[in-house]
Every structure is written in structure tokens, then in C-alpha cells.
């Protein structure tokens, strides 16, 4: 049977077999509601407690610092809106290349009397330090900058930014959903530098969809987004998604165990890919910046990205054009626009994101298919002229 090669791990990942094995009992005989006091319920509660310890340990946090949510988007909404609700309106600053689930809540807050600053990035996608310092001088109350960008894979100097934000008296949050399993994430160390909250999401590193967490310094005041039975210390009501949370815990453990082994392999794949991409005449975005080892965001000038992606899908390679969550959106990538990339080039952008299962052979196969596609399209373009 024809099995396409999946090269879109920043959109989502297949669940690890060990993760699904751990989840299955919680979808069959162990089905209790963790709030129930009988043995079915208590068993489910113990499973959640265990997963909470696993998630905490994976990112160097305390179990009491973990708030489970239904996804990364919810965690980011909870942090931005929940924190804003505890302050009088003031200044809020988020990276210009943040995921929409940080930018959109920030825009919502801006409608309620807050002033929103979009923190500029340089041409490589890194936060512009001078611009950042200038915004900090305005004493913002909330600052959110992602650890690793989902499109470009660009890593920010989070500890440095957090320290500056702390000196300005701001609450500093970082969306780390793309970082776990690919680079080391240590909340204690980040917290010491001034990071007070992190967002994690299970399905980005071998866990199931439907489980995520806000890792948060307990001193941060937050108002819940979802009211009700008072679950998750009152910060997130609703019956816990036990199976997915259990899977999240296991995925965290595995991701951290394997990170040291997997990251260099991913990096080798990335380098192999980039070397030939450049020879083919591609532009690799954020190439001079520190980036995730698995992500390559690139474009061929004058070639339509959608067409390339479609051809590659038929050839058996699944990659992304722009970010998955806004794929319905025909607008060019806001991340590239923030980096000063022109709209035409940005519209042609393609993203390859590797996972631990990808092999050098797959990369070679992909490059061959890409080369063929690009050659054919260039020929067609030339004929049209």
C-alpha cells in the first residue's frame, strides 16, 4: 500500500505506541470520573496526579505548577485573558510572529482598554532587542514571546527577554508548544530568569490531541476562562480528559528521554535538506538564527507554494504551506511578513518539519520529488512568459 511520508510534525505528530498503550485502559475498564469518590474515580484521580508529576518532571516544574487544558490554544487564551482580568488595563506586548492563539486573545484584550504592542522581529525572525527594550520602558504588564516559532523554528533568547521583562515588572509568558522534545526546556531555570508561565501541548511531540498544559509559577494570579465545577484549582473547570492526560504524561517522559538522541538526528536531516534546497535556489527563512533542529521554512521565488505542495502530496510527501492552524487563511504568513518578507515570496512558503521517525532516505526521496516538481513548474512558468 502507498504510504505517504509525513514531513509536517509541527502541525501534529502521530501518537507514540507507548502513549496509546498507556491511554487505552482509561478508555476501557478504568473509565471513572476523577471527581467521583468511589474507586473508579479515585483510580482516575491517581492517574491524573501521576501524569501531572510526569509533565512537571519533563520540564523541570513542580506538579502544583501544572494546569491541564484541552489544548495549546486554550492554555494561551487562559494565560493572556486570565492574567489580564486580574490587572487594571495597561500595556500588553506579544511577539509579532506569535501563533494566532496568542495574537488573537491579545487583540481581544486590546478591545477592553488595553494597549497592544507587537514586538518587532528582525529579518531572521528574532525579537529585535532594541525595539523590545523600548517597549519594556513603557512598563507593560503582560509580555508573551514564544520559545520556538511554529513556522520558521526560530528560537528566541527567552531568558534574556524574560529578565528584561521582569525588570520592567511584567508578567512573562512563553508559548513552548513547539519546543518540547526538540530542545531542552527547564521551567525552573526559565523561571529563575523571569519566565512565569509556559504553554505545552501533547500532540506536538507524540502525545494525543486534546491535552495540553499551562506551566505556571503559583504566584501568578489568573482568572479562569471556563467556569464550573472548579477543576484544576479552579483555573479550568470541566471533567478531565483522563486518557489524553495520561498519554500526555507518557509522551513528556519519552520526549525528554529521547531528546538528546533525537535532536542531533533531526538536525542532520535538516542540514541535508537545506544544503540541497539552497542548491535548488530556495530561500530558507531564519537561516542565520538559532532554530529548532527539525524545521525548515523555505520558498522558491516565482513558484506558487500551493502548487508545489499539491504536487508533492501526489508524489507521496506531506508538507505544509504556512502554519496548519491558519491554512484556511489565504493571507501570506504573518510570521514572514513580520520578518519583512514580501507578500509574493511569503505566499510561496513551504514548511518541512521532521519527526523522530523520518530517515535520511526519506529526505533524499523528498528532495528528488521536489527537484522534479520545481523543474517542471519552472518550465511551465518559463513557457507562460
Amino acid at each position: 500500500m502507498f504510504a505517504p511520508v509525513y514531513l509536517d510534525h509541527n502541525a501534529t505528530t502521530p501518537a507514540d505506541a507507548a502513549v496509546v498503550d498507556a491511554m487505552l485502559p482509561w478508555l476501557s475498564l478504568q473509565f471513572g470520573n476523577p471527581s467521583s469518590r468511589h474507586e473508579y474515580g479515585r483510580a482516575a484521580r491517581r492517574a491524573i496526579d501521576h501524569a501531572r508529576r510526569q509533565v512537571a518532571a519533563a520540564v523541570g516544574a513542580q506538579p502544583g505548577e501544572i494546569v491541564f487544558t484541552s489544548g495549546g490554544s486554550e492554555a494561551n487564551n487562559l494565560l493572556i485573558k486570565g492574567a489580564a482580568a486580574c490587572f487594571k488595563p495597561g500595556i500588553l506586548a506579544v511577539g509579532a510572529s506569535e501563533h494566532p492563539c496568542v495574537i488573537k486573545p491579545a487583540e481581544q484584550i486590546a478591545r477592553r482598554g488595553w494597549t497592544l504592542h507587537r514586538l518587532a522581529v528582525d529579518s531572521e525572525g528574532r525579537i529585535d532587542m532594541d525595539a523590545f527594550a523600548a517597549v519594556m520602558a513603557l512598563k507593560p504588564k503582560i509580555v508573551s514571546v514564544m520559545l520556538a516559532n511554529n513556522e520558521t523554528g526560530v528560537l528566541q533568547e527567552i531568558e534574556l527577554l524574560a529578565a528584561m521583562a521582569r525588570r520592567a515588572g511584567a508578567l512573562f509568558h512563553s508559548d513552548a508548544v513547539q519546543a518540547v522534545g526538540k530542545v531542552a526546556v527547564d521551567f525552573r531555570q526559565l523561571n529563575a530568569a523571569g519566565v512565569q508561565a509556559l504553554t505545552l501541548s501533547a500532540h506536538k511531540f507524540g502525545g494525543p490531541k486534546g491535552a495540553a498544559a499551562l506551566v505556571m509559577d503559583k504566584r501568578v494570579d489568573l482568572e479562569a476562562l471556563i467556569a464550573g465545577g472548579g477543576h484544576e484549582r479552579g483555573l479550568r473547570s470541566g471533567t478531565e480528559n483522563v486518557a489524553a492526560i495520561v498519554g500526555f504524561g507518557v509522551a513528556c517522559e519519552l520526549a525528554v528521554q529521547r531528546c538528546a538522541e533525537v535532536a542531533p538526528r533531526l538536525l542532520a536531516l535538516r542540514e541535508r535538506l537545506e544544503e540541497r534546497l539552497l542548491k535548488l535556489g530556495a530561500i530558507v527563512f531564519g537561516r542565520a538564527a538559532e532554530r529548532l533542529p527539525n524545521t525548515v521554512f523555505f520558498a522558491f521565488p516565482e513558484l506558487d507554494g500551493e502548487t508545489v505542495v499539491g504536487q508533492l502530496d501526489r508524489a507521496g510527501y506531506a508538507i505544509a504551506s504556512g502554519a496548519a492552524c491558519s491554512s484556511a487563511n489565504p493571507e501570506p504568513s504573518h510570521v514572514l511578513r513580520a520578518m519583512g518578507v514580501g507578500p509574493d515570496l511569503a505566499r510561496g512558503a513551504l514548511r518541512v518539519s521532521f519527526g523522530s521517525g523520518n530517515t535520511p532516505e526519506q529526505v533524499n526521496g523528498f528532495l528528488d520529488a521536489l527537484q522534479t516538481t520545481v523543474a517542471r513548474l519552472r518550465q511551465l512558468t518559463a513557457m507562460a512568459v
Partner: protein
């Protein structure tokens, strides 16, 4: 051979039907794509599964699939419905109406809306747990924008007069929200007939997985909502966030099975429930809470007078049941639902909710009946209240040294 403890808490959560699990698993492995990925077959396959499930959810309630918005569960659906509608229609008025026996997810959301400047009327119910339509009529005001009444109560299983309330609300142009988390698979829901604008659903109360729910948002006449979760613009902007495909597939299959099987299943469960009720009827001073006729067949909520609920739960640990609702069982408060029925404190503290379901057997019910007979007797021997009542003391006249 009986498996202990016997699960009689189907209103807290249900096991996932094995047929549902089987459909879910491929979506964790080979069909793991992100339904929002538009550039490859992994995404398209996941999206097709999500849309198929949407059709199944819509079919159970006779709605258009376009009227279904996925959420993480009924709690989120209730939050989205109430805050979303209240905030969108705030320009028309700031008065909301709900009922004292609603789920915490509705009541707490209303409390939050009060802090945001809305005014909420919390209506009393009759002694049988049902809402009196005249009480509702009297509470309506020109600035009422939203009424929220649950379909089936989670603690006592009574079915509210949703059709009638819908008529009243529609005639006055008021948005009507119904929390139907406990209703699916238990009562027929026809949204082509019911004049309901927003309806909340949960998968895990109907043999689907936890972590997934839906909100029905009527298109004709169109109901508008302010989104509560912002981001990638999923679910037509109503609710952003990556869709958990396997859970959605599970909810679709669970609701499909409910549609096909609820008729026969309800009759079987009614028989078992009635067997349980009759089996307990010879214990003295046992009271059924809530109307017995206008009630789902799955629920029996009874008060064993003069026996405290938590010690009773300990005594019958071979039965997995609840006293009060699962979501509040960490607290020592007696059930606010039973208080709202006018039950006195002793009876409210003495209630046990038995909820039966798809996998309950006659043997399990018989075991429960026998166990309860033994344990109620033992605890009443321990109860000073029972002793006083036996001596002819009227407890309502006693001056308690409250602490």
C-alpha cells in the same frame, strides 16, 4: 461472577463503548493528521472524519451539521453559550434567567456574568424538581436576553419542559440555551421541533470519550455568539484550537450508537431501575427525590433518612454511586439540588444517586438491593437521629447546638 465495585454512577461518566474505542484508535496512529492541515492527505483524511462525526452528532438531535461546534466538553459548551450569547446581545438587555438546580458549569458562569454587569434570576423549582412555567413567565422582563434551563437534571434525572419553555422564549425573542449533557441517548431530541437556540452536549455521558463535547448553534433563526477561545479561527471562528480527531470520531460513533439503540436500551434500563426502586421500597423512611414520571429511566435518587450520605457511601463501597454530584463531591455541602427541592437537611445529606446504564445487569441491581438493606440497618443503629425518631421526638423542634 460479579465485578466489584458495581458501577451505578453512569451520570458521572460512562465507560467508552468498546465499539467507540475501536473507531478512535486509528486516529491516534496512522490517521493522526491535523484536520486543519490543508496541504496533504493526512489532514484531509482527519478533516473528513471530523465532518462525518459532525453529521452523526447532528443526526441524533435532528439538526444541520453546520449547526454543530466542537468544544472540549459540556462545561466549555455551557460557558461558550452563556458568555458568548450574553456578551453578543448585551446591547439588547442585561437580564438572564436560569434555574437553581442547574449544573455548576451554568451557575458558576452566571455568577461570572453577574460580575461582568449582567443581572441573573435564579428560579426556584417545584418540590418534584420541575420548573413551573408560570414562575418563568413571571420572571421574564423586557430586558431578558437569555434563558438557560437544563434538559435532564444530573442529580435527580427529571426532564424539564423544554418544548414549552422554547415556545415562551421564541415568542419573546429571547435566546434559549439548554444543557443537554445528561439527555443524549436518554430522551429523544428533535431540534427541528424544539425552539431551542443553543444546546450543550458531552460525549462522556453517552459512552463516548472524555474531553470532547459540542454546542449546537441554531442557524434559522440565526443565533450569534462572541467567541471565547481565540486563535486559528477553527469552527468558523466560534472556537479556536486543534480539533482532537480521535475524540471527535469517538463522539460521532457514540452518538450514532445512541440514535440506533436508545429505544431498546431505555426500556431495559427502566426495568432495572424499577426493580431497584421496588427492592428498596420496604426499607422504612426512604424517599425518592424528584418526579418519578417526568424522569429519565436511568436515574434513581433516594434519601435514606437519618443516615448520613458520606458514611453510607463508605458502608456500600461495593457500589460505585455518588451522593451529591460528582463535580462538587469534594465539598461537605449537602446537594444544592436537593435543597432547591425543599428537602430538609437530613434528607439532603442522606441522598444517594443511583444511575444505571448500558452495562448494568439484573444481578448487579439485586446485589445492590441486598447490600443496602444490610447497611442501612447498621447505620441507623448508630444514628442518634434515628433513635430520637423512634422515641417519638420531632427533630424539627430540637434546638441543635450548631457549630
Amino acid at each position: 461472577m460479579l465485578k466489584l465495585p458495581i458501577y451505578l454512577d453512569y451520570s458521572a461518566t460512562t465507560p467508552v463503548d468498546p465499539r467507540v474505542v475501536e473507531k478512535m484508535i486509528p486516529y491516534l496512529f496512522e490517521k493522526f493528521g491535523n484536520p486543519a492541515s490543508r496541504s496533504h492527505s493526512f489532514g484531509w483524511e482527519a478533516e473528513a472524519a471530523v465532518e462525518e462525526a459532525r453529521v452523526e452528532v447532528a443526526k441524533l438531535i435532528n439538526a444541520d451539521p453546520k449547526e454543530i461546534v466542537w468544544t472540549s466538553g459540556a462545561t466549555e459548551s455551557n460557558n461558550l453559550a452563556l458568555k458568548g450569547a450574553a456578551q453578543f446581545y448585551a446591547g439588547k438587555g442585561k437580564h438572564l434567567i436560569t434555574v437553581k438546580t442547574e449544573h455548576k458549569a451554568v451557575l458558576d458562569t452566571c455568577r461570572e456574568l453577574e460580575r461582568q454587569g449582567f443581572e441573573v434570576s435564579y428560579l426556584d423549582v417545584l418540590g418534584n424538581g420541575l420548573l413551573d412555567l408560570e414562575v418563568l413567565q413571571a420572571a421574564l422582563r423586557p430586558d431578558t436576553i437569555l434563558v438557560s434551563v437544563m434538559f435532564v437534571n444530573n442529580e435527580i434525572g427529571v426532564i424539564q419542559p423544554i418544548a414549552e419553555i422554547g415556545e415562551i422564549c421564541r415568542s419573546r425573542g429571547i435566546v434559549f440555551h439548554v444543557d443537554a449533557a445528561q439527555a443524549t441517548g436518554k430522551v429523544a431530541i428533535d431540534l427541528a421541533k424544539l425552539k431551542v437556540d443553543l444546546m450543550s452536549f458531552s460525549a462522556h455521558k453517552t459512552y463516548g470519550p472524555k474531553g470532547i463535547g459540542a454546542l449546537y448553534v441554531r442557524r434559522k433563526p440565526r443565533v450569534r455568539l462572541s467567541a471565547q477561545m481565540h486563535g486559528g479561527g477553527h469552527e468558523r471562528g466560534f472556537r479556536s484550537g486543534t480539533l482532537p480527531t480521535h475524540q471527535i470520531v469517538g463522539m460521532g460513533e457514540a452518538f450514532r450508537l445512541a440514535r440506533l439503540e436508545m429505544g431498546a436500551e431505555s426500556e431495559r434500563i427502566r426495568m432495572l431501575r424499577d426493580r431497584l426502586r421496588e427492592g428498596l421500597s420496604d426499607i422504612e423512611e426512604v424517599y425518592v427525590n424528584g418526579d418519578l414520571e417526568r424522569r429519565v429511566p436511568h436515574n434513581l435518587n433516594v434519601s435514606f433518612a437519618y443516615v448520613e450520605g458520606e458514611s453510607l457511601l463508605m458502608a456500600i463501597k461495593e457500589l460505585a454511586v455518588s451522593s451529591g454530584s460528582a463535580c462538587t463531591s469534594a465539598s461537605l455541602e449537602p446537594s444544592y439540588v436537593l435543597r432547591a427541592l425543599g428537602r430538609n437537611d437530613e434528607l439532603a445529606h442522606s441522598s444517594i444517586r443511583f444511575t444505571l446504564g448500558r452495562f448494568t445487569t439484573e444481578e448487579e441491581v439485586d446485589y445492590a438491593i441486598k447490600l443496602l438493606h444490610d447497611k442501612i440497618g447498621r447505620l441507623r443503629e448508630l444514628s442518634p437521629l434515628w433513635e430520637m425518631v423512634q422515641e417519638g421526638v420531632d427533630l424539627s423542634t430540637v434546638q441543635w447546638a450548631a457549630h
